[in-house]
Point group: C2
Chain length 259, copies 2
């Protein structure tokens, strides 16, 4: 009933599929998002989420070839951050599909469906400008203004997903280096949730959640910058879901306390 007869897509309005990435990192205790300045119309010079088309082609025998959306997102992220695909730093980045945005007029030129992705990264170097994105950089969340297309909406959706994921997955470890202290981990929660969890309770809770972190067997070389004892170092554990979860404080944004 709704199948284009004979599958001749040229008889139909052409559509395109892109990926857009909400890449988050933490710098100086603040959540930052990777944005690029657009180098062309529409929204020329406006900031936008990094992204691009999902590539498709055919081989000599007419077989379909191309990227999965996941692969396209990983490629775009590598391009925009200037990191080498498959490099250790990129491999520690968590990348997951968020949702697909497909309002008919979200791009004025043609029908474009955007598969949005969410990425969690430890502090990455400032990207070098290149390609058709005039420039790219990490922008603190509270400095984000009007973005191109529907990217504000996509960003908001990604933020809420990120906040929720910290509760029941160990993904906070994707925001810190391979070895980290409990305090560094707590700083991740503070930055993403906008509220610092109680230090003592947080400490005990992280250590009592099986598979969250494992002791790296070493201590920091120095105490905190403003005093305090040295602290133990940990590595990410093998758990993929936290049990019990680390619940957001009730007054943090969008805990969803019913009514």
């Amino acid at each position: 009933m709704s199948t284009p007869a004979g599958y001749d897509p040229r008889a139909y309005e052409p559509v395109a599929v892109t990926v857009d990435i909400v890449a988050l990192t933490i710098r100086d205790g603040e959540l930052h998002v990777l944005l690029v300045e657009r180098g062309e119309e529409p929204f020329l010079k406006r900031l936008a989420l990094p992204g691009g088309f999902v590539r498709t082609s055919r081989n000599a025998r007419g077989g379909i070839r191309g990227e999965t959306p996941d692969e396209a997102a990983a490629r775009e992220l590598a391009e925009e951050t200037g990191l080498v695909p498959g490099s250790p730093r990129l491999r520690r980045v968590h990348l997951e599909q968020l949702a697909t945005f497909g309002a008919p007029r979200r791009d004025p030129r043609m029908r474009v469906f955007s598969v949005a992705y969410l990425a969690f990264a430890a502090d990455l170097p400032d990207p070098v400008a290149g390609g058709d994105a005039a420039s790219a950089g990490w922008v603190p969340l509270d400095k984000v203004r009007r973005l191109a297309f529907d990217h504000n909406e996509i960003l908001a959706y990604g933020l809420e997903r990120a906040r929720a994921k910290l509760e029941y997955t160990p993904l906070a470890t994707s925001f810190v280096g391979p070895e980290f202290t409990i305090s560094e981990l707590r700083a991740v929660y503070a930055a993403v949730w906008g509220k610092d969890p109680h230090a003592g309770n947080f400490h005990r809770k992280v250590l009592s959640t099986p598979g969250f972190v494992v002791d790296a067997g070493a201590m920091t070389q120095r105490g905190g910058a403003r005093g305090g004892p040295r602290s133990r170092l940990y590595r990410a554990g093998r758990a993929t879901l936290l049990h019990p979860a680390l619940l957001r404080p009730a007054d943090a944004p969008a805990r969803g306390r019913s009514r």
Copy 2:
């Protein structure tokens, strides 16, 4: 860098975007999924998830018109269930986006991205065959065999989402009629989780979760078919998130208890 130059999509391999729907309902205490028999190649006569193309067109002035993916999913669901769009029964159906599946060769004919949706419905009538789907019907989950395309994967993804959503949202009420007993609600959890929660604890828990259900002020006319007192009737409350959540029993499928 990855923008097709000049945005002439005809210079590029054409792509299509469809919606596919994992529509779930409960019949006789068992979870069922809506499937259609394909009326054409590929996968002729194979069962598949209902779905179809997201429609796009242009108006007289060249402006882009068309459906959002949400609208396309709602339309397809109406078509395949044989219900009137906007009818009260359809309006009680919960419909949400699941994920987008876009492996390059998931459809042998051309590059097709499928935006998958999840639908929760109270017991709906058997759909009448019509359109190009040779037939459609509700199939018990344990009778589902190999589906067309990657629809087994999409179905599995939808099931896991459904199980998780029952925990922290009141969506179980979408599976029952407008007025229901606590036992009927418990039967929803039993069917979706594959394990019947403890009746007494479930009862107390549902009533103590704010906004989950509200008293409808009436009782059933008869007790249970095999005896037992009459029970109180409830309606869905206004909560969108349950707090506290109804946790799945630890031995239920995929609780993800971390090691």
